[in-house]
Amino acid sequence: MAVTPASPATFPAPPVSPAPSAAPPMFLREFAARMLRYRRTWRGTVVLSVANPLLFLLAIGAGLGRLVDPASLNGIDYLEFFAPGMLAAAAMQNAFVESSFAVYSSLRRDRAYLVAAATPLEPRDILAGHLLFIAFRVASSALAFAVVMVAFGAVRSPWVVLTVPAALLTGMAFAAPLAAWTVTVGEFGRLNTVFRFVMMPMYLFAGTFFDLATLPEWLRPVAYVLPLWHGVDLCRTLSLGTATLGTSLVHVGYLVVLTAAGVVAALFTYRRHIHL
């Protein structure tokens, strides 16, 4: 091993860092490192992020759904109604796992963040690279799910192709704020608390399984505020072909604002907690 003894002439460093143009941008390095690791671990993730939602699709959509009279859903098959909702809910769940447990571990268990922080990467590069990786995970799982939806004949409109970016946006609206918060969390148990008391109720009551119109009138405004409902309704109307431009823009706008707010908060918390 020959570590080149730096000649005295190389110090001090030249005033402008002559970064070779071929070197990839910093945030892509974090992404590439995560992808290298993912190549060794992806098998384990497929069960949770793709197989589980598909089992739900089968059991509830195709199984339990037969008991639902299409007349009660304006002539829509329950499978057609439920599948796009499940797509959005699965995107939320995948985003949750990747931005809570994985972020916590990156700072406090396997400490991948601290490894990256010792290299030229700044906390914001680490954040951007990790969010890009989460986006990849959410989008690839959503794509797999959407393909199965089409194969099951559970879609009514070619607009279904837009459900994948819609699911991705739904996922990121959770991932960014959650990552911003998780990086500040010292105690693992608090993540489970959020899962049980925030994620699960939202999973059940944001319209994934039933039409919100069936809720009592006083409860509906609460459901309409839930971010997941916007993702569910966006995906569902696209898949059924009933999407209108105005409503879709409201959904997209709401989710984009959440994502952006999360990113801004995370830029701050990542710096605070990685560069102590």
């Binding site: 005295p8 460093a13 970064a19 390095r29 991948a112 922080a117 030229p120 990467l121 102590l276």
Partner: protein
């Protein structure tokens, strides 16, 4: 060399301070480093010796540009860590206190992944990874997962990884803590080779033997401050005698014996007595001669040991307590 031809130190710290913000709102922050000055020249092995909580790791983190100083001035490779963190880190190698390796990857892949962070071309990383595995004596383990590695091997892999960018400066935070004696010697040998190749080494340790083995120069830290600075030999000469006579007495006679010894020692030749809870240390130029005096005075220690002074004695003198407190 700078343009005017004078050698600038590789690292220069003046009045360097680190205060961590309070955990609770309105609480008081914690001052880990309370204003320290030091410099490190190219090719040196420089140590921070001190007990846990002395501020060594905080200093290391500031040097690693992952912890902004809260006061004073720090220049590394002629740059300011507050502004040029990226460029400084590109030329540092960091060996953290715990081995933070990826358990899902093989030994070789751990090196390849680290190379990605430095934006090195694949071909370059592959070639360097081969050489580094050789250097770390891990060629046989290259394709194995981390689980099969011993503590010493993991530490050597962490060091190999830190060299992937061929750094000018290597920062090692307690490099041999938790390793068995044999693994420590293997590691010291590797570090010594690096030094001979011109890598500047900065390390923290609370082992005086490690500091004596590896460091050309060191600072003794206590409570966020530097108590003294010099080569191990200089520090021992300045703060201790050539030899130490360690005496143990039966517990009930301990205090009385200590008092008697204090009357016996000859301060004119630099002798002095240090009373520890379990034994009495007599600092003296000639331990055997002192022991003869003690025996002649009808004192009967349970055990008597003559040894050379170490940095532990220096620390005891500087901080009034032992390093391992």
């Amino acid at each position: 060399m700078t343009r005017d031809g004078t050698a600038a130190p590789l690292i220069q710290a003046r009045g360097l301070r680190k205060t961590y913000p309070a955990k609770v709102r309105g609480g008081e922050g914690f001052q880990a480093v309370a204003g320290i000055d030091f410099h490190v020249d190219r090719g040196e092995a420089f140590g921070f010796l001190g007990p846990n909580g002395a501020g060594k790791s905080s200093t290391m983190r500031m040097l690693g540009c992952v912890s902004p100083p809260t006061g004073g001035d720090l220049r590394i490779l002629g740059m300011d860590p507050r502004r040029d963190g990226r460029r400084i880190r590109a030329r540092l190698g960091v060996v953290p206190q715990d081995d933070v390796l990826d358990p899902d990857l093989s030994v070789r892949e751990n090196l390849l992944m680290y190379g990605i962070y430095f934006g090195l071309p694949r071909r370059v990383v592959r070639e360097r990874a081969g050489r580094l595995l050789d250097f770390a004596q891990l060629e046989d383990k290259a394709e194995e997962k981390l689980g099969s590695l011993s503590g010493g091997m993991r530490r050597r892999l962490t060091i190999a990884r830190s060299l992937i960018n061929e750094p000018d400066i290597l920062l090692l935070d307690e490099p041999t803590t938790g390793l068995d004696p044999q693994a420590r010697h293997v590691l010291w040998d590797r570090l010594f080779r690096l030094k001979q190749q011109g890598v500047t080494l900065l390390l923290t340790t609370h082992y005086m033997d490690e500091a004596e083995q590896l460091c050309d120069r060191l600072v003794v830290m206590d409570k966020g401050l530097i108590a003294d600075e010099g080569s191990p030999q200089e520090l021992i000469q300045r703060h201790s005698t050539r030899e130490v006579l360690e005496l143990r007495f039966p517990i009930e006679e301990h205090e009385q014996a200590a008092g008697k010894l204090s009357a016996l020692v000859r301060a004119d030749v630099g002798e002095r007595v240090e009373v520890l809870p379990d034994r009495v240390l007599v600092y003296t130029p000639d331990g055997e001669a002192t022991l003869a005096v003690v025996t002649a005075a009808q004192m009967v220690p349970v055990t008597a040991l003559v040894r050379r002074s170490t940095l532990e004695d220096v620390f005891l003198r500087l901080a009034g307590r032992s390093l391992t407190d």
